[in-house]
């Protein structure tokens, strides 16, 4: 299985995501922002970082990059797409997911480990977790405070589209939301970084199943 990782100017977790994809057992494929092609990948990760320096708004400029055209089509066609941190912000700006990420209420960058709960396992990125399972994930962001209007939040909750929830909310996020999916459930955005806890050498492998899940989902389909 081939998993693509987009690289925008200023992405800085791209190499980490490629590493995690490889550890999960898939073939990592770099997707350069200026090329409008997905290189026949089976899934795409939009990694974290500061695409375009987070200038204007995080993700606001990246979402117009050439690679985003085919990526949007891929997502609308049901292809599995994961956005992590800045990648989540890009997917929101591209309207592949609803809502927005505001400044952390503490007005500071927060970098720490937080406990989270897997709320839904019916997405290609969380299938190998147990529903209600608690995992500890790193967060590192300035703008991770999830916001959507009341109606949208209600819809997300009712449709079971809150995929990951903070048990220790680091940023003021509405309903402790740490991750959501789209209606079709193939597009997932997460604020915490599963790729940073995907290697026992770094003390934890709790995030690796995110990447293994998409492999398993693909295996099931083939």
């Amino acid at each position: 299985m081939r998993i693509g990782v987009t690289v925008f100017p200023g992405s800085n977790c791209d190499r980490d995501a490629l590493h995690a994809v490889e550890r999960a057992g898939a073939t990592p494929v770099e997707l350069w922002h200026a090329e409008a092609e997905l290189k026949a990948v089976d899934a795409v990760v939009v990694p974290g970082g500061f695409s375009y320096g987070d200038y204007l708004r995080p993700g606001a400029i990246a979402r117009f990059a050439k690679v985003m055209g085919p990526l949007e089509e891929f997502a609308k066609g049901g292809g599995p797409v994961l956005g992590v941190c800045n990648g989540f912000q890009v997917l929101l700006e591209a309207h592949l997911l609803p809502g927005a990420l505001l400044r952390n209420t503490g007005m500071r960058f927060v970098s720490r480990r937080v406990r989270t709960r897997i709320e839904k396992t019916d997405t290609p990125w969380t299938a190998l977790y147990g529903e209600g399972e608690t995992i500890t994930l790193p967060v590192a962001h300035n703008e991770g405070n999830y916001y959507a209007d009341e109606g949208t939040i209600r819809e997300l909750e009712e449709e079971g589209r809150v995929v990951l929830r903070y048990l220790e909310n680091p940023n003021g996020s509405a309903n402790d939301i740490a991750g959501i999916c789209n209606e079709a459930r193939n597009v997932v955005g997460l604020m915490p970084h599963p790729e940073r806890v995907s290697d026992p050498a770094l003390g934890s492998e709790e995030g690796l199943r995110v990447f293994r899940s998409v492999l398993a989902a693909a295996g099931a389909k083939v």
Partner: protein
């Protein structure tokens, strides 16, 4: 021509920056300050004003959380 775009948080949207400034003011001895809102000021040199509305809608403001206004200043 020069265009000025003002982007501000939509009413009712949490504005942590504005809140932080509001909280900091009394400590500096400034009292009597009510609501504070912080947004973005964008100044552009453009050849024509035709594309400004599109730029605002698609790029300069996020319609989910922000509202904008713009004017030609010179």
């Amino acid at each position: 021509m020069k265009v000025r775009v003002l982007v501000r948080p939509k009413r009712g949207i949490l504005d942590p920056q504005g809140e932080a400034v509001k909280r900091a003011l009394p400590a500096l001895g400034f009292s009597g300050v009510g609501a504070v809102h912080i947004g973005r000021l964008i100044e552009l040199e453009v050849e024509s004003a035709d594309e400004v509305e599109g730029m605002c809608r698609r790029l300069l403001a996020n319609p989910t959380t922000e509202e904008y206004e713009w004017e030609v200043v010179s």
